[in-house]
């Protein structure tokens, strides 16, 4: 299973042969993906699973129509059949499309994930032993009833070739190397069950074996297990209006749900109203809306080395570059690719992405980061008279306009008179996106700035699940409605 299609000139020639040159625009997007799943649960190795996923999406724009056809048949005959099907769709949708403007760009370029330490240095038996070691460090007490360690490696090669009746052609080759480590410990006593995870799948990124060290994977298990046990005897989080200090592994969820999704231009244009929802953000807000306090700076940055959603081009072939979405609290730019920008007349970014070869691209978050401030975390804690420090998301719910939200965390720490006074369980908070970010009263500095990501963002019809990157320091919000679990 080692032949890489992306390195096959014969296969690339086949793609170019079948792509039509008598249409307004055509592209073939090959995705060749190899994934290894390793997991140890309760010190028992689960079956090793290796996934090989290869397919091609053909896209044809012609005469104002647009058609897609995705296939696993990579023979010349199979690809030709897919081209004819896409051409059929372009024909029957002509005159019925929300937009008729075919792309005109034929970009050329490459991207390769930065890999410092190849997996050859940590062969399969060593990877299994690493997980067994972590598992043993998690299952340290009879009250820990379930625990596990897992490691997913995913290599994705993507080749896009384009053609048109003007004779132009393009070629983009991007080779991604992803790593997803995780740890989990669940403790129980009576009707109280508490779970701590290693970042709740937040600690994932691009790279090789060095990603494990980047996130401290080998050092986290004891803390995870002990905090799960600590929560069994911790009091419920207090209920009331107070300050909320959000750790980076909760901030990524806050950014994702109440900045990322509301700024997606396809939501604002209405595409997602039947499924993922619309947005409280309206077109006239761009350029003037006070999204947050003046401490809030948010960037779309696909150039961060090793972040989960770094790339050089989106799946429509638009070159990707760093852009401010919110600057000094003011909304300046949306999350929309070339098609959404053309439809809306709004500024956007290169974020038209598909989760696999069998789905067409739509507007997605990529790396969406809150820029660091200049306070230390200790200074933020010292400034809190009464509040809670919330770590690691475990519950998320928000309305279909991405406004009224309620989020829960695994682990909380009560803060009184500027000091952490103890752990609390079942911490949660709720608010309204359109006003929540204006209560941002402190942004920690680069020392707490953590580059993370989440592998499971769902959206789109047909449904798509994609990884997004988020980076943030700890952030302080004032006068937030906080609550705990059932007494």
């Amino acid at each position: 299973m080692t032949d890489l299609l992306i390195e096959s000139q014969t296969f690339e020639d086949r793609l170019r042969t079948v792509l039509p040159t008598d249409v307004d625009y055509a592209s073939a997007r090959l995705v060749d993906e190899r994934t290894e799943h390793l997991s140890v649960r309760r010190n028992q190795m689960e079956p090793v699973f290796s996934e090989f996923d290869t397919g091609v999406m053909i896209t044809i724009w012609d005469g104002g129509g647009l058609g897609y056809s995705a296939t696993t048949d990579l023979s010349e005959a199979g690809l030709t059949t897919a081209v004819e099907r896409a051409r059929y769709w372009a024909g029957i949708t002509s005159g019925a499309m929300v937009t008729t403007a075919a792309p005109t760009n034929h970009p050329v370029g490459t991207y390769v994930s930065p890999v410092e330490v190849t997996w050859d240095t940590l062969p399969l038996n060593d990877r299994i032993e690493l997980l067994q070691q972590q598992s043993r460090l998690l299952g340290i007490d009879d009250r820990i009833v379930n625990w596990g360690a897992s490691l997913v490696r995913r290599d994705v090669d993507q080749l896009i070739v384009t053609s048109s009746k003007d004779g132009d052609s393009g070629r983009i080759e991007q080779r991604f190397r992803f790593v997803y480590p995780s740890l989990r410990a669940t403790a129980n006593e009576g009707i109280n069950t508490q779970t701590r995870t290693f970042g709740g799948h937040a600690y994932c990124g691009q790279g090789g074996a060095e990603v494990l060290g980047r996130f401290g994977f080998g050092d986290a298990a004891s803390r995870v297990a002990n905090e799960a046990l600590e929560l069994l005897t911790a009091p419920n989080c207090p209920t009331g209006v107070m300050d909320a200090l959000l750790a980076p592994d909760q901030m990524i969820l806050q950014i994702h749900e109440s900045i990322g999704h509301p700024l997606e231009l396809d939501r604002i244009l209405g595409d997602e109203r039947n499924y993922a929802g619309t947005s409280f953000v309206t077109p006239e807000m761009f350029g003037s809306y006070q999204y947050g306090s003046d401490l809030l700076d948010v960037t779309f940055d696909p150039t961060v080395p090793g972040q989960l959603a770094s790339y050089a081009f989106d799946d429509d072939g638009t070159p990707a570059e760093r852009q401010h979405l919110i600057q000094d609290g003011i909304l300046v730019r949306g999350l929309g690719g070339a098609a959404s920008q053309a439809r809306s007349g709004l500024p956007g970014v290169a974020n038209s992405r598909a989760d696999n070869w069998n789905r067409p691209p739509i507007d997605r978050m990529a790396n969406l980061n809150v820029e660091p401030g200049d306070s230390t975390v200790d200074e933020l804690i010292a400034s809190i008279e009464r509040g809670v420090y919330l770590h690691t998301n475990n519950s998320w719910s928000i309305d279909d306009s991405r406004n009224k939200f309620q989020f829960g965390c695994e682990y909380g720490q009560r803060i009184e008179d500027g000091e952490i006074v103890g752990a609390v369980r079942n911490p949660g908070y709720r608010g309204i996106s359109s006003t929540f970010w204006r209560s941002l009263s402190g942004v920690a500095d680069r020392d707490s700035f953590t580059v993370m990501g989440t592998p499971n963002c769902g959206k789109g019809e047909l449904n798509q699940m994609i990884g997004t990157g988020h980076a943030s320091p700890a952030c302080l919000f004032s006068n937030i409605e906080v609550f705990g679990g059932e007494e």
Binding site: V98, N274, N358, D399, G408, L462, G484
Partner: protein, 447 residues
């Protein structure tokens, strides 16, 4: 993919060939799933994206004694290429198997029992479907997705067992939008497209949109008498299902959201009976290790725990029999037994309160206590004396299932609605649910 290929014969043939190349005492388990789906995505009654997805995935588990490793490839339909890919995968799995220990929780069916179920449909050509849908949306803000075509799943093993499930279905999941977030949500799904049935659905949606034209009101947080329509009930019970409320492993590891029922004697309403109703669902009745599912598994009977869904791995781990559950151990064909509230008179049964057509984005506020939160969505109305007063702006609820499905459950409707899962993550879902609506005496809203 060559569309002339018979997927069932192809799968059988490729597994038979692979079986002949097994080494020593090896056992091969193989699963295939695939689809040929046409899709049309619409916004403002115009096409946003449209096309065809043609895919087949072969998943195998290669076993020797108690040691095994697994993997998957996409099938191309080109026999030489697929045989080569599968041979390469099996060679890799053999190599990996040398490095793994015995798996004490490995369990697969060793008593071959072959089955076949094929549901042929009558689906419109894409151009006809597009024209019909756009005609229904003329003058309206229609947004949604149409997906149609064949889906199939198969199991085969080197012991000679063969199981096949295939169906041709369509699914139109759409809204008529009035403005902002006010919309009427509807679904038309089945095996045979019927213009008359579709027209009735469109008419129902048009009447709902009309009702939404009244000025909306905003309700303050508090407790309100509520009717949860079947789609709203689906959001509540799906959350419980996905987090292990009915699964053996979640029970044994005390992660079930219904923990209080296990250890504290808590009960749900005696009106509530929940089952995994495979016989009346639209999913395959076999699973990936070759076990067949019983027609029905009672999960909650009159408010008390009955059985759990047990995957083969859980069966080995906890020393019980499997009932053919998937690894996730959640219902794929959930049914809640209907009650006594006349379905045609739910407005009267509700009287004054909230009529909730849909809930959205449910999650837990406190999982161990089964306290859940979520939003109202689409058409939610304030009713007085059984009459619509006004649409209600979105509200967040935060309440426990022990109230909503327990001491505050006044009644279930006397008819259950068949709800086909519209999910298409990776491939089209074959899950479904058969649920009644529920009248709840008081439901807590917080934002």
């Amino acid at each position: 993919m060559n569309v002339s290929i018979d997927d069932q014969d192809y799968f059988d043939s490729i597994v038979t060939a692979a079986t002949s190349a097994l080494v020593g005492d090896e056992v091969l388990l193989a699963n295939v799933s695939g689809e040929r789906t046409d899709f049309i995505r619409l916004n403002h009654n115009e096409v946003r994206q449209a096309g065809t997805i043609d895919q087949r995935t072969l998943t195998v588990d290669l076993i020797e004694g108690q040691r095994h490793t697994g993997g998957s490839i996409r099938l191309t339909g080109e026999r030489g290429m697929d045989d080569a890919r599968l041979a390469a995968l099996l060679a890799q799995l053999r190599e990996q198997r040398r490095l793994v220990a015995d798996d004490p929780f490995l369990l697969y069916n060793t008593e071959p029992f072959s089955t076949e179920r094929v549901e042929r449909g009558s689906l419109p050509e894409p151009d006809t479907a597009l024209a019909d849908i756009r005609a229904a949306g003329t003058g309206r803000d229609l947004v949604g997705i149409y997906a149609s075509g064949d889906t199939f799943q198969g199991f085969a093993n080197s012991l000679g067992q063969r199981n096949w499930f295939q169906s041709s279905t369509f699914n139109l999941d759409w809204c008529f939008y009035l403005r902002a977030d006010k919309a009427a949500k509807n679904l038309y799904a089945g095996f045979v497209w019927d213009d008359e049935v579709f027209a009735q659905k469109v008419d129902w949606s048009a009447r709902q949109v009309k009702a939404l034209e009244r000025d909306p009101i905003s309700l303050s947080p508090g407790e309100y008498r509520t009717y949860l329509a079947p789609r709203a009930m689906e959001e509540v019970v799906q959350l419980l299902s996905y987090y292990g409320a009915f699964g053996m492993r979640a029970h044994e590891t005390r992660q079930t959201p219904l923990l209080k029922m296990l250890v504290d004697g808590e009960r749900l309403s005696p009106q509530l009976t929940i089952s995994e109703d495979t016989a009346h669902g639209v999913a395959a009745n076999f699973q990936s290790a070759g076990f067949l599912r019983p027609d029905e598994v009672p999960l909650i009977v009159e408010g008390a725990y009955a059985q759990t869904l047990v995957s083969p791995r859980s069966a080995q781990e906890y020393g019980v029999a499997t009932n053919g559950a998937t690894a996730g151990e959640y219902p794929q064909s959930m049914a809640i037994a209907p009650g006594t509230v006349p379905t045609g008179a739910v407005n009267e049964a509700l009287g004054t309160g909230l009529f909730v057509g849909n809930l959205w984005y449910t999650n837990f506020s406190d999982q161990a206590a089964c306290r859940t939160t979520g939003m109202t969505r689409f058409a939610t109305f304030w009713m007085e004396d059984g009459e619509i007063v006004a649409p209600v702006n979105v509200l967040r609820f935060d309440d426990t299932a022990y109230h909503l499905l327990g001491d505050r459950l006044e009644g279930l409707t006397d008819q259950a609605e068949v709800l086909l899962d519209t999910a298409t993550y990776g491939e089209r879902s074959t899950d479904s649910a058969r649920l009644p609506g529920a009248v709840v005496g008081a439901m807590r809203f917080v934002l």
